[in-house]
Symmetry: D2
């Protein structure tokens, strides 16, 4: 006999919310409860998520505590600043999994600098594949799902922190869904198709302190992060190129990665000679990695691919829900991508 | 206790073969056996299907009877002309499901005209949603999986055959994966991105007689088909615009579609006001339809979306396998697309 | 000695305005004067048109008569309903070329039905390649630039109007720039990439009466038009598939097209065996055509490609300006596309 | 009265050859002579370059000295290893502009390591915007056109070489046309659309020594280059993200770029707040740059966009031809992109 977990999704009209529902529809233990939205409340879900046919008759409700309470798990896919108040009112009977940024940073100063305003507190960080990352998530009542760039960047570099110097350079090419359904000119199809562009250049992207926090924690010493995101003409996927000077060019780099991820179900070091592509992880919870050393420079180069909406957001949320509830960690998740 | 069905895939290095494996990895009753290829035999599967991580260690073998025999089900994803001989040697103990064209046409003359050479015979046609389409598939030992364009075109028009005149016009916009991994200049990314082009114009595409066969059978009278495929810059998906003059402009068109597909798990008439998009069916076994009447012309217009690799090929193959084996028809299949 | 023509562009921040400026920058007789916008007035042009480096220092002004007057030619790239009042105030000293819809339709009833409100009157129609189309444009003081779909559809079928029955079916695949910079969810890159969708189905698109008007005029009898536009994942380009039953299947179709376009500098019937692609006309003023007959059905099939922003809008506007001013018709225009 | 320069293009069926012809068709001083190919010799050019309508009747000839001699300028767009022998036989009466790699490297050892075989010698390097880069090109009889990645990377970093430490990290996102029309599975539209992938990782790309050579020459000291190219789903364009540690974080970085490119017609430092996009330079000879300093790290970040086929190859070739012949450097070239 299986237990049934009743869940709600706040922000069900957006991309992260849609991806959560897509995954949860394939999860054997889940009953989908309330679906809420902001300006789209009152609409049928299908108008905003035409790919979710099994939920075609569902209505979007207002995002209120009244609508969300009474579920075993509530997923929040909201703009930042909304989760703390909701979580408090929902109480500890409800597991709250926040896909937003509010509770990821451990430093209130960092929060203030990068997001402004008062820090709402730190929740267990939903990246179980980091060193000791799983401990805080088992049985957790609150989870802060990582940002998409920090997920792929941290997993790409964490196994090497003892082997590298203190500064890393990351350039991550991303699909446009990471920006959500925001109506901005630069996100129009006519603008993004056929074009690549960088944004948040010079350390200005809000995911920078989160990557720094993860790598610094993994290293046990300050790691400095140069991070540049690049928008590419694709809906989904991030391909991160991560480099750092090696302390010792003879370091056994590959072994470090093999060891770090040998037992991880979702992080996959590719066989030598194969390099990650984002379409190979599309729709899946997998991270694909390859590593090499530029021997002329004594520099480590790691390339990693992730689906920003799946393992980068909603898949991580489901994975963390499984850990929080004591379900097998991989339930409802897959390492099979949709390609080509 | 569940039975386990052992399957093999011939042509596992191509797009149809990859999609079969993607779906079968999610099918609870399947054990994946031999995987064969032609020029790629000897390679690791992962080299050709990097999205299929659970099969990372599998080898591609030669496509021979010896390799394929002993499985409960053999899927053939081969160029045309190869299935008859293989099927004969495999014998009736093995269910053979052919994703190729060899056994779709009922007329040997049609075969000769469109493909050349001797017709290899007709197999039960794998489109259960056609009128009486399911009967021949339950318990079948051989199945001819329909072409991708015939699937979407036939489902788009079959419910209306009694309401329309004898000539239909279909223009179907398709992604490039329908052409397979063939190394042709016009299929290069540099050529297809940012560009649309028609091909097989003027009734020259081989799927034309198959659509004609289906609609003629559904109507019980000859239906003439003007069919033009258009290549668009996307990997997957077909959007078919299908029009025909109505005999009576007051015909209850919508009711005909509602009735035809009320109990179909995979064919979905959208609520009025919503129109199909191919990304809403990406990776799923769903067909999304919308219908309207151009009242100035007394003309029916149906728009239908399908994933050419899923319901258009591999999903149909799995659906037919389920019917052939007496499994629930929807096992391992989904109407949930991967969007955006 | 060359004369210099001083021009202004109203709506310079949008896609049509940007394309006008791109072409006019390459026109040897043009001096670019006032550039106006609506909500972007006050911005530097470069913010909205980063590809127009030679105009990097230009400011966008308000769209008023005061700003626009005093130029030899004023191009209007505005939402419909604005051109009549502006044109009246500018007076006949100024050539006004309207890229909008206000003055295209000859029937006030059609205007009322399709756009609503009072018809602002009909201006010379800017498609010189139609039968007798050039006459009204030479020396004109007002020009209504055709819609992008009517341009390609009318040129695709006009040479055949005497050979076909009275009903035509057109399915036109278009890039997203035809929708302008409107901030709508369905135009976001995440929505359009990897996806095809139809809109305005069932004769609901406003270009339908314009195509009907053109073909009816060319035929000298009513022609009925079934028109379906399909959005494809590309920024520019329209590929129109146009079919109609032939009165006589032995008609000399190719000859009709060869004769119609033998002396046209921008409309090009491709050699037999080659079919149009939109990237071959990208950025150019060319229309590429190919024709065939589906002999099983006795049906003409014409495929035509155009760049919706160039010959479909801004290129036509420049061509008409040349005719209006007595300049060589092809000045500043090209049949060379930007491919791949 | 203008002189007319008669040119030939060897490799006219490929992407670089097509772009050369596109640009040369717009050059007022050029008469297009022989067009040659390898396996496509005997075909009409239009079959391979359907966007070049003014050359629709031209035939592709064999690539031989006999065909190429007697022209004022011969452009070579050939695989590496072919230009030296051809150039020798053509003699010094003919200006030879090589779009291939044969004569770019100054070190025979580098050539041997990266390309293998005997070095064919060094020709004047066709990047006039490098320090003193123009001198050797004025009146040159032989020009080695730079690689596309070296063009954008070198221009992005050369103005800063005195301000930075000795190691730079470059990640360059590129469209697929840089790989030419090669028939490789990973270049198929189905593979590249919706996907990003790195290649030549770890210092393995052949453009690495060329970038190193340029920056080392500009700096007057060895500069080490970590270079990773990333393939993105677009036909054209490179966006390079280039970073390096600053010697002094208070360095006047912007001023260095303003000074370096103040008089350059094709290299454009954008106003503060605007960042380059590849579609803004599509089809143009412009390089768009923006610079910033990551003050947390004391690191320079430069982002630069170029059209790999235009300024990255064929535009540079035309620019160098102009310099070689004493024509105004910008003749036939433009800083106006084709966008959106």
């Amino acid at each position: 006999m299986r237990m049934t977990v009743r869940i709600a999704v706040a922000g069900a009209s957006g991309y992260a919310g849609g991806e959560l529902l897509r995954l949860l529809l394939g999860h054997p233990d889940i009953e989908i409860g309330a679906l809420t939205a902001n300006s789209s409340a009152g609409d049928k879900l299908l108008k905003h998520q035409p790919h979710l046919l099994p939920l075609a008759d569902r209505d979007l409700q207002d995002t209120t505590v009244e609508t969300l309470k009474g579920h075993d798990v509530v997923f929040l896919a909201l703009p930042h600043g909304h989760s703390a108040a909701l979580a408090e009112q929902l109480g500890d009977d409800t597991v709250v999994i926040d896909c937003g940024a509010d509770h990821r940073l451990t430093s209130a100063d960092d929060w203030k600098r990068w997001y402004g305003g008062e820090h709402a507190g730190t929740w267990p960080y939903g990246l179980p594949e980091l060193p000791n990352g799983r401990d805080a998530l088992v049985g957790a009542r609150r989870v802060a799902v990582p940002g998409c760039y920090p997920t792929v960047s941290s997993l790409a570099l964490a196994p090497a922190v003892d082997l590298i110097e203190d500064e890393v350079v990351i350039v991550a090419v991303s699909g446009t869904s990471g920006a959500g359904k925001s109506l901005k000119t630069n996100l129009l199809g006519s603008e993004v198709m056929g074009s690549a562009s960088a944004y948040g250049v010079g350390g200005a992207h809000r995911h920078t302190p989160e990557i720094t926090q993860n790598l610094t924690a993994a290293a046990g010493r300050p790691i400095k992060v140069s991070f540049t995101p690049v928008l590419a003409p694709m809906s989904r996927g991030i391909l991160a190129t991560c480099t750092a000077a090696l302390k010792d060019t003879a370091a056994h780099v590959r072994e470090a990665y093999e060891k770090a991820y040998a037992d991880e179900p979702f992080v996959h070091l590719l066989p030598e000679g194969l390099w990650p592509t984002t379409n190979a992880v599309l729709g899946s919870n997998a991270v694909q990695l390859q590593v090499t050393v530029d021997s002329d420079l004594g520099r480590l180069v790691v390339v990693a691919a992730v689906d920003n909406l799946a393992k980068g957001t909603a898949g991580a949320a489901v994975q963390c829900m499984n850990l929080a509830l004591g379900l097998p960690e991989t339930t409802g998740l897959s390492t099979v991508g949709v390609a080509p």
